[in-house]
Symmetry: C2
Subunit: 247 residues, 2 copies
DNA sequence: AAACAATGTTGTATATTTAGCAACAAGCGA
DNA sequence: TCGCTTGTTGCTAAATATACAACATTGTTT
């Protein structure tokens, strides 16, 4: 399908600005996009009219605008899975004492759309809205194992334990499928272990995944199977509430 | 400045979809925008290519897409005030026992960009990214009192205590300016009282506001002035850290 | 069942709109 | 002061988006 060039350019500019930490000037945008200064100027003004970008009064440089934040909130409101899942996240926190997360697939990554913090003193940054790779997170692997079978192309390493071999990953996905939950054993962040299980609708179609994550000192390898059973059960309860009839 | 029509139409579609709770069809969008079905179809496809909207596989209806959520996250990362303010939010929670919030001005409303939850059992929904009116929230009134002096046009009532008279509001803003903090006495939500104070840069330019909010039973009218002093002090400390030299 | 209505998508020609060039204004540094 | 960079604006050509129409698909009604 042919995409509309002008609109696509505007959206690409937003992608550019996302990368640029300290904003970009008109000329800079024009160069990066390989378009004329004047075109960039007019596109940026239009984006600014709708609050998608803001121009710093002093430097005249452009940054992502607050409208994106409020629209993002609108996205969350629209995901009904989130409403249904919330009490189950609290249940996970109650039963495990660790932070619980809910993620869905988006742009071939794991998109965190909700969390429930444990009462433990250690605070976690709000991660809602962030994307994480699939191959080295428990939530991601749970979704890979119960999803449509497509694997990520590149398995980038984040720690020494990150699985970077397609065959190894494939084998582990089968294992996850059989036992019903996935584990991240310090494969993404050092010192953090996670456990996750899939959430499915009545047809068995993958909706997302829920799981817990905590310091390796608390989430020990001995206890991790117990956590797995809990997470799998809570995820199954949530799936059941959504109308999933096993078999 | 003349805005680029095609891009503007795409952005307007996003605004439309924000309102429509259950998504919109191509024809529906076309009617609402007063453009042809084919144009709407192509615009929507382009938006979908970049993840700004998603089409439900079954119903072919369009909704806001996950890209908006991740871009919104990018907006948060870019607001350096947020990083500086976070420890001060925790300080507010420690000293008052109530939830603390940070807001900035955006689209002539108060945009909540961070929060610190109290350890009280009562949980608050994540409000980051939401917009609230200025005239009936403590954060909003603090920003009005110390901002550029522009008042909101319409003072919509939310509770019986909401100030709906411009003159009354104006008088209260002066009061807020003199004493250094603003109060919301159940003017937005029944049973909730809030206290807030402005955050300013070294030139005295308004950057945002921080404050606390809690149940009226805990935030009583007798104690509210004590809270006010605390909030004012913490906000002043934050402003000072940002380089604000009083006088 | 079958006709019908409504929806979403795809060609195509026209004409509107954008894009690029160039000139201009403004800020900064040398 | 001069030169350099940046951001914005007129203007025209030309590319692009638009509307019209036809088509495919789905769901509804009689």
């Amino acid at each position: 399908m042919a995409e509309i060039q002008t609109l696509a350019r505007g959206l690409k500019i937003l992608n550019l600005l996302e990368q640029a930490r300290s904003g970009m000037g008109t000329t800079e945008v024009a160069k990066e996009m390989a378009i004329d200064k004047s075109s960039a100027s007019r596109l940026l003004h239009t984006l600014a009219n709708y609050g998608f970008v803001v121009q710093d009064e002093g430097t005249a440089r452009y940054q992502l605008g607050p409208r994106l934040l409020t629209l993002g909130q609108g996205v969350l409101d629209r995901i009904s899975l989130r409403d249904h899942a919330r009490p189950y996240l609290y249940k996970l926190v109650d039963e495990t004492g660790e932070c619980a997360h809910l993620a869905i697939l988006a742009q071939r990554q794991a998109l965190y759309i909700d969390q429930a913090e444990s009462s433990a003193a250690l605070r976690v940054e709000s991660e809602i809205g962030t994307l994480s790779p699939l191959h080295c997170t428990a939530l991601g692997k749970a979704m890979l194992a119960f999803g449509d079978g497509a694997l990520p192309e590149a398995l980038l390493p984040f720690t020494q334990r990150t699985i970077t071999d397609q065959a190894v990953l494939q084998a582990q996905l089968l294992h996850i499928c059989q036992r019903g939950y996935a584990i991240d054993d310090e494969e993404y962040n050092y010192g953090v272990r996670c456990v996750a299980a899939p959430v499915q609708d009545h047809r068995g179609k993958l909706l997302g995944a829920i799981g817990i994550s905590g310091p390796a000192a608390r989430v020990t390898l001995e206890r991790i199977d117990d956590f797995g059973m809990i997470v799998r059960q809570v995820a199954a309860d949530l799936s059941a509430k959504l109308g999933y009839a096993a078999g």
